[in-house]
Amino acid sequence: MQAGIVSYGAYVPRYRITPAEIGRVWGVDGEAMGQGLNVRRKSVPSPDEDTITISTEALRTALIRGAIDPQQIGALYVGSESHPYAVKPTATVVAQAVGATPNLTAADFEFACKAGTAAIQTCLGMVGAEMIRYGVAIGTDTSQGAPGDALEYSASAGGAAFVLGREHVICKVHRTVSYTTDTPDFWRREGQKYPSHGGRFTGEPAYFRHVTECSHRIMEASGTTAKDYRHVVFHQPNGKFPQRVGKQLGFSDTQMAYGLVTPDIGNTYSGAALIGLANVLDHCGPGERILMVGYGSGAGSDAFDLETTDEIARFDRSFGRPVQWYLEHGVELTYAVYAKFRGKIHMGGE
């Protein structure tokens, strides 16, 4: 049996902040900034949330939806660039929380914004090789931009969990292709609180080159063109980049409609493409072909040629919230409360 997606779940923290509110504090026209980025608001984690709690929420939803026994999970990987600990895995806490321990392998992945898709590829290999029954791949982040930096207008929090298996596959993976180079567009060194970036260098030589090349390669290998896909999901550091790359590759707004979630929740980094895919799957019936192309700075793209099966018609999505709910709901914060939540206020005595 071919390995594929057997279940999934997504989670986005409930708080939101608008670019206008951020700009108000920094003396910048935040509304124009938001329009330029195509980001209306971004999600903000509460003080008690981190990539462990987000992963756990998303995975619990996935396990219940797919009626999966956590003890049958043979591998659990969490892809993120904001793991709560530099040393001590996120994956073990998540595995324990959902009852998957101790008979599994677990690890944290990091590849900027594409650690989650890398985790999917690893799980596909292990499931396909029949080393394990189920593999769990999670992409999640609570990343931050430095106060006042352009990144602050988009960096948000959220994540999605995908369970890969061979039985009751709701979405087949026809093929996955990667494109990787040493391109230093965005980085955070050990001990640094906020990431650094190469400004406009993050565009053409980084995001656009890798996403475009990887998309071309997978469509060439699969013998497909843009029109063969009902849906397309790109990594979405803002709302503009995926729209532009999609247009360049010949995809229409309709094909991109469900896969683009950043305008309403911001850039969830490792969660971004995966939450987009979860939203697509929320709206899919059987036989719908999907192209997903992730991107991680540093840099690389992972592309997936996917197709939903008849099983998706029987898939119980009633547990947990659909992605659409997170796009439409949320409690807006002032910058002051946001700053407190995100630990940007220096407390006396520290």
Partner: protein, 389 residues
């Protein structure tokens, strides 16, 4: 003093050349110019290289021998001189090359200009380029080049009634011109509304009133006019090469809507060449900011003081008239790799005078002028070039 001619020209594309190094673009432009001049490196007597800030921008000083070395001339033991004059470094290097050949000491020299500005973050580039103004009297108080030029713009508006729209017309013009230049950093056309609606940089200047930071290199080969026909059918004579300086800081000038360095350099150039502004058919002028172009047109003698706004907006410099301005797209559209700008201006004018400018060729181009400015006018360099028959 013997007459000097431009025998060959070369230029890289301008823009964000992130996959190319400083030495690579410098060599490309130089080799293009040598090939164009039908000269081999064995004929060369020296290199003059205009560059503003390689030490701050790419952590590399001593770039004269660097370029010679990586061009394969390291063991020829030729003299190589770096020339620095802020944004006017390229034209200043050309002036030095001109003096060397005119004096008779050197026969053939390459004059290059090269800058790699986009390997540092924009804020760093702003800081480094602003050091071409007076650091102690202007920059430490927060002034940047666009801020200082914004003061010039405000004063020009106050004294002469120049409007925001008239400033914006310069950017629209440059992008229209640049759209036909394959080496230009920006080839997109701009509408007046786009320029007026762009985010503010230093009021009244918006983002699209300011030339970009660019990477790029340009080079020319100079030689004695008397033997120029051995190398080219269309030698271009340097009819004048004049440099003038002024106070570093804007506030020490009598009036800052006039760049006296430009006025003096232009007057001396026209006097030397026994020509007048009305004889010029093509001009590449300093338009780092839209206001710079208007002030330059007045200071060079093309337009009466205070009248550049409405005269420029009338469209008479856009081609088809007596004078065409910035057919390359200028600094605004062709790009602004500081030390390369002055040489690239000459490359464009030479191509126009030779009739080799393809889609952007100006009919009947005979006498050309180039105008390069450092800082807010502490250095101005004016060259007059004409086809030698």
């Amino acid at each position: 003093m013997r007459e000097v001619a431009v025998l060959g020209v070369g230029q890289t594309k301008f823009g964000e050349l992130w996959d190319r190094s400083f030495r690579e673009i410098g060599i490309e432009a130089g080799l293009q110019a040598l090939v164009d001049a039908k000269l081999s490196s064995a004929d060369l007597n020296g290199l003059f290289l205009g560059n503003m800030a390689s030490g701050s921008l790419i952590d590399q000083e001593h770039i004269g021998p660097l370029i010679l070395d990586y061009a394969g001339l390291g063991r020829r033991h030729l003299p190589a001189v770096r020339v620095e004059g802020g944004g006017a470094s390229g034209a200043l290097a050309l002036h030095q090359g001109y003096l060397a050949v005119a004096s008779g000491l050197y026969d053939y020299v390459v004059v290059g200009g090269a800058e790699k500005l986009t390997d540092v973050p924009d804020a760093t580039a702003t800081q480094i380029t602003s050091s071409t103004a007076d650091h102690e009297w202007e920059v430490v108080f927060g002034a940047t080049l666009p801020a200082l030029w914004a003061l010039v713009a405000r004063r020009h508006m106050h004294l002469y009634g120049t409007t925001r729209e008239q400033l914006a017309r310069v950017a629209v013009h440059d992008h229209q011109m640049g759209s036909k230049n394959p080496n230009a950093h920006y080839r997109n056309k701009l509408t007046l509304d786009q320029v007026l609606g762009a985010g503010p940089v230093a009021e009244p200047l918006g983002m699209l009133d300011c030339a970009p930071f660019s990477d790029g290199a340009a080079a020319v080969v100079l030689g004695p006019l008397e033997t120029a026909r051995r190398h080219t059918d269309t030698p271009i004579r340097i009819a004048a090469s004049q440099v003038a300086c002024d106070t570093m800081a804007l506030q020490h000038r009598k009036e800052f809507t006039t760049l006296e360095s430009t006025v003096v350099a232009a007057q001396q150039a026209f006097q030397h060449a026994r020509r007048a502004p009305r004889d010029v058919t093509v001009a590449e002028i300093h338009d780092a900011y839209t206001i710079s172009a208007l002030v330059a047109l007045e200071d060079l003698g093309f337009v009466e003081k205070g009248r550049a706004g409405p005269v420029f907006a009338s469209g008479q410099f856009a081609g088809g008239g007596a004078l065409t301005v910035n057919p390359s797209g200028g600094l605004k559209a062709q790009g602004r790799p500081f030390g390369a700008v002055g040489v690239a201006q000459v490359v464009e004018v030479v191509r126009q005078l030779r009739g080799e400018a393809k889609d952007r060729q100006i009919a009947g181009a005979t006498l050309g002028l180039t105008h390069d400015v450092g800082g807010t006018g502490a250095t101005s360099v004016v060259h007059l070039l004409e086809r030698s028959n």
